[in-house]
Amino acid sequence: MKDCEEYQDACSAYLDGELTKAEETQLKAHLAVCPACEAYYKALQDLHTKCEPEKVTIPENLHENIMACIMEEAQKNVVPIEKRRRRPPMFTMVAAAAVVVILATTGRLGDLTQGQEAFVQDSGIDTMSAQPDLEESSAAGRAADKSRIIGTEENTAESRMMSKAASADTDKQDTNAVKVDLSQVPASIIENVYAFCYIAQGTADMVPDFGGTLTAQDTSGTMSYFIIKNNMSTLEKALGKLQEGGYEAQPREDISGVTLDSKVENGLIIVVQQ
């Protein structure tokens, strides 16, 4: 360093702690003997103080505005779910009620209940972790599902209507690229993060035992949420078993409400019985 101009340049770096020890010693020695440079350094310090964020008054509602913006973003994934949620349960409830009437009149209710029990036993699904009311709702849902088969078998006027309504609903879903109504992802599923998400679709009445733990079901009972370990061989085995059982699985990353992170312990398999 030679002249004051260079020392003053060094003042800037000194203020930022970006000088070497040697440069710092040299500058300090100069500041002790040069009032102009010392004043310059003090002016930079003063400038620094004036620029402190505390010197700026932040708008009163800044925090609220930021958080409102974040909340809106956080709910972006949830809103479409709520919007779509309104329609299917209405249909499902009416359909389930109608089917119960049909079954009662055709005397097939007993058969169906047995079928349901067989399903639970055969599939070896851990129903302990499922919500207590799931079995009931899944029975109703399954009844709704059965209606299509029964409808064609019995060929009654009511069941024809049912069948028509059901296929209309399916058509609606088919036009959607998703092909699966994912509007009812349960809250317990949304709350967690998964390593992967697969959707396995099939028409078979029984879901093969693929090693997953049944964690939740939608109200219609056609969609079951299974958790399996994030492990390549476990996943491959599971997908193999599902395929054998007539369920074609596809990886999905676009399910709103389902957060993915490859590093977490568990993965999600949504089994859709069509």
Binding site: K2, D3, C4, E5, Y7, Q8, D9, A10, C11, S12, A13, D16, E18, H30, V33, C34, P35, A36, C37, A39, Y40, K42, A43, L44, D46, L47, H48, K50, C51, P53, E54, K55, V56, T57, I58, P59, E60, L62, H63, N65, I66, M67, C69, I70, M71, E73, A74, V193, T259, D261
Partner: protein, 203 residues
Amino acid sequence: MEKATEKQMISRAKKGELTAFEALVTAYERRVFSLAFRFSNNEQDAQDITQEVFLRVYRSLKSFRGDSGFSTWLYRITANICIDHARTAKGNRAISLETEDGERPITDEAVQHQPEAAVQNTMLRDEINEALAMLSEEHRQIFLLREISGLSYTEIAHILTLEEGTVKSRLARARKQMRDILLQRGNIAVPNPSKNTEGRTAR
């Protein structure tokens, strides 16, 4: 916020816990707003920028791996948004605002956009922001990145794609200009007592 608490908040916020994210907002909103305000010289723009910053942080928090500190990452995002914003605003603004040598003349913008809540700081914001408005864009940027966001020379070099040596010298010039402007306007606390000694060989 302590580093350990901050780390914990980040990890919780990553899992989607909004209250944890809010704690991060509380810890940094003032600094982000200050930087945005100094950059844009306009309170409404500064609010918009601040919101955009936290929204971007929220969206990309999952990809934040902690290689650099959270604050560095946050200020880098802020700086980038401020710079982008300045470019857009510059495009929208009349070019005549810039003088031939690229320096911006003092404008009444700060006064025009002053909301009532900020009146108590009027003097200060005029002083600093008006001085800032007189700097060239490159000096203003580098001055703010260092003075407000406290980024290191390495970080600034990275953001502005400059050599570290250039950061050091440009920052020194920017500070000198700021000091000269404030001195001229009688806004700096320590006047130069012996101006004549300046530029003289010290040894």
